[in-house]
Each structure stands twice: as structure tokens, then as C-alpha cells.
């Protein structure tokens, strides 16, 4: 399993791997919003948590179809399915690799992008924490969507449609944590919900994704 994680990370950082794509997209979004809304800090401040979370969600969506599609094309997925690693483990490792290459850079970059949107300083900590807790669920749900659509040509659209509704609870509670952090209100209740969603997703979704992959490999 470690070998698979190492291979996925190596592939992501080599030419054409797409590492940094999510952060670049996140940066573009956060840089464009002030142009669209206007640079007035009073206008930006209330929408900053929402924009940052929507940006994180869309950036993570961008590279989802690569989780399994590339391995399916070159036959690696068939070979992994016959390997001694359980398919659930393959899903978990690949989702983790996706999180390291997309979710983690977003968490690191978010405070800087928060500045662009006049996010109050006291909310930065809560933004980082909520992204850290919430983004693993995005990668894992995405792995499920990628597993369902793996055999399809141009499955990207269907993948987005399948996955976006599943992302909404994470988005709502993640934004709420950051918003309450900005207003110095109590962020713990939405934080617990966010953590609960992530824990549930990490525990259950690998089995669903592996089942979907088995059907698609037939």
C-alpha cells in the first residue's frame, strides 16, 4: 500500500501529473473575485469564508477523474484488482494521495488567499482547521464518484453531477466554522458536524467505491 501511495505521489509530481493544478485554480478564483465583486473590504469580508470554501471544493473537483481513469486506461487497475491489496485499500490509498496532492496544498495556501479576500485575521485559524478536517471527505467522496464513472468516456460531467450534492454538507459546515470564527462566535458545533461527516465518509465510502470499481471492471 505504501508502494502505491509512493507511486501516485511520484506520478503527480512528474511531468503531466497535475500537481499544483488545484492551487493554481484556487489562486485564480480568489484573485478574480475581488475584480468581480469590487475591492471594497466591507463587501468582501462577509462572503470570504464562502468563496474560500467553494474555491477549495471546485479545485478538488478538478482532478477527481484522474484518480482512477488513468489507471483504468493503462490496465493498472485490472492488475491492482488482482493484487494482494484489497480494492478497498487501493481506494483509500488513492484518495489519500489525491488529498495530499490537492487538499493539503489548499490548506497551506488558504491563509494567503484569505488575505486577498479580506478574511479577518481571527478567522484564518478556523479556516485552516476546517479545511484540514473537511477536505479529506472531499477526496474520498470524489474517489467514490471516480469509481462509479471510471469506464465512461468523458465521465467528468457525470462525475461532477454525482459528487457535488455529496459535497454540500461539508461545504455548509466548513463555511459555517469559518464564518463563526470571523464573527468570534462559537465554531465548535459546526466543527463537530464537519468532523463527523469526514469520519463517516472515511469509514464507509471506501467500501462503496470498491464495489463500484468491481462492477466497472467486468
Amino acid at each position: 500500500m505504501l508502494a502505491l501511495l509512493k507511486r501516485d505521489l511520484t506520478l503527480a509530481t512528474r511531468a503531466g501529473g497535475g500537481f499544483g493544478l488545484a492551487v493554481a485554480f484556487f489562486l485564480i478564483l480568489c484573485a478574480l473575485v475581488p475584480f468581480g465583486v469590487g475591492p471594497d473590504s466591507e463587501a468582501l469580508r462577509p462572503i470570504a469564508p464562502g468563496i474560500l470554501w467553494v474555491g477549495a471544493l471546485l479545485s478538488s473537483l478538478l482532478s477527481l477523474d484522474r484518480i482512477f481513469a488513468l489507471d483504468h486506461e493503462d490496465g493498472s487497475l485490472d492488475l491492482l484488482a488482482t493484487a494482494p491489496i484489497p480494492l478497498e485499500g487501493v481506494v483509500a490509498v488513492k484518495a489519500f494521495a489525491h488529498w495530499i496532492t490537492t487538499g493539503l496544498p489548499l490548506v497551506v495556501a488558504a491563509p494567503v488567499f484569505g488575505l486577498l479576500l479580506h478574511l479577518p485575521g481571527e478567522a484564518v485559524f478556523w479556516l485552516i482547521l476546517s479545511l484540514l478536517i473537511g477536505t479529506p471527505a472531499l477526496s474520498m467522496l470524489g474517489a467514490f464518484g471516480a469509481g462509479v464513472t471510471v469506464g465512461l468516456r468523458r465521465g467528468g460531467l457525470l462525475l461532477s453531477l454525482l459528487v457535488l450534492p455529496l459535497y454540500i454538507p461539508t461545504l455548509i459546515f466548513g463555511t459555517e466554522v469559518t464564518r463563526r470564527g470571523a464573527e468570534a462566535a462559537d465554531p465548535f458545533t459546526p466543527m463537530l458536524f464537519l468532523g463527523g461527516i469526514t469520519a463517516g465518509v472515511l469509514a464507509l465510502v471506501p467500501f462503496a467505491a470498491a464495489a463500484a470499481l468491481r462492477v466497472n471492471l467486468r
Binding site: 505504501l2 508502494a3 502505491l4 507511486r7 511520484t10 506520478l11 512528474r14 511531468a15 503531466g16 501529473g17 489507471d71 486506461e73 493503462d74 490496465g75 493498472s76 485490472d78 492488475l79 491492482l80 484488482a81 488482482t82 493484487a83 494482494p84 491489496i85 462492477v215 471492471l217 467486468r218
Partner: protein, 209 residues
Amino acid sequence: MSLLAVHDLAVARGGLRAVEGVSFTLQEGKALILRGPNGIGKTTLLRCVAGLQPPVAGRIELAADAVAYAAHADGLKSALTVAENLRFWAQVFGGGDEARALEWMELTALADRPALALSAGQKRRLGLARLLVSGRPLWVLDEPTVSLDAASVGRFADMIRMHLSGGGAALMATHIDLGLDEAQVLDLTPYRARPGRVERPAGFNEAFA
């Protein structure tokens, strides 16, 4: 001891039965070559044996984690070097001598080249070298000699002989003569599913059967 026993197997491709009533056993040290016209279900049968899809009817008896499967796609990552590709599969399948596998397929000189720069035949040789590092006793090979030159085909036949003499077995579908005179041949043509018994594709529910 038999590594693989297939009883009255029927397989379906795209919801339609391809072959049915196929039975054979494969002992240690034996090779079985499947023949038959295009579309008769050789690949589908091999995928069933490899556990990638369920049979429609019949039984497949084999030990868990016994199969090394090699199909048309070699599972290579073009951004990784030859040695890295092979090392990954060696680690996933739990070991095996990578240097010896490279030596067998005459890839040692290419070990540090990215897989992107390999020719089709060299890629195939790398895909076959993976069998040696898998450490699995039963090789299930789907058209293993595609894009290999004559010398490499001979080398590959030697590799299979070596595997068989070590107590392994091989089940393969191929159209060309490998020079493996000791291998048994099973022609699938008589087992073609009769049109009258073809079941209609079950549509949506088929995916969850």
C-alpha cells in the same frame, strides 16, 4: 496437484453468453493454450479466471492470490522509468527479483529509461517481466506475444518453460505458435454458446447481479 479447476463454465460479455460448458484442469508444471476465432470469449474467460468478472454459470476452483494476469494493456506508467515500473509491481505483489526479471526480458540496459521512450515491443517485454516479480504460480496471459519480435517470442517461451519447471502453470490465449510443444491446446469453438440459449441482457439490474 491441480492449480486450477474449471467446471462447466459459462462466461458472458456485454450480457451475452460467449462460451459455455467449458471444463478443464491445470496441473502444476503444465501450460494450456486457448484457441478460437475472434470474439469467442477467450479474453472474457481469462478475466473470469483472474477474478475480474464473475462467471455466468459453473465453478472456478483456485487458491486465493494465485493468479498473475497479463492482458493487452501492460499497466505501465510512462512517467516512471522501466526499473521504477517494475519495482512498484514487485512491491505490490510482495517481492521477486527485479534484476533477474529485467535480465530475462533483456531490459537491463533500458532500466533507467522512462517507459514513455520504449517501443511497443519493449513495453510488452516489461509487462511480461512483471509476471516474474509477481511470485504467483498461475500465469493468466491474454495474447502475450503481441508486438514481440521472433527472438523475444522464443525468449518468452523459455521464460514460460522455466516457470513451469518451477512448479508454476500458465493459461494463455494466443494465435501464434509459441514453440511450446508440451502445452495442451483447448479449442473453444465447440463450446460457443448456442443462439437459442442466449439470454437477453438484463439491462440495469445486470450491474448488480
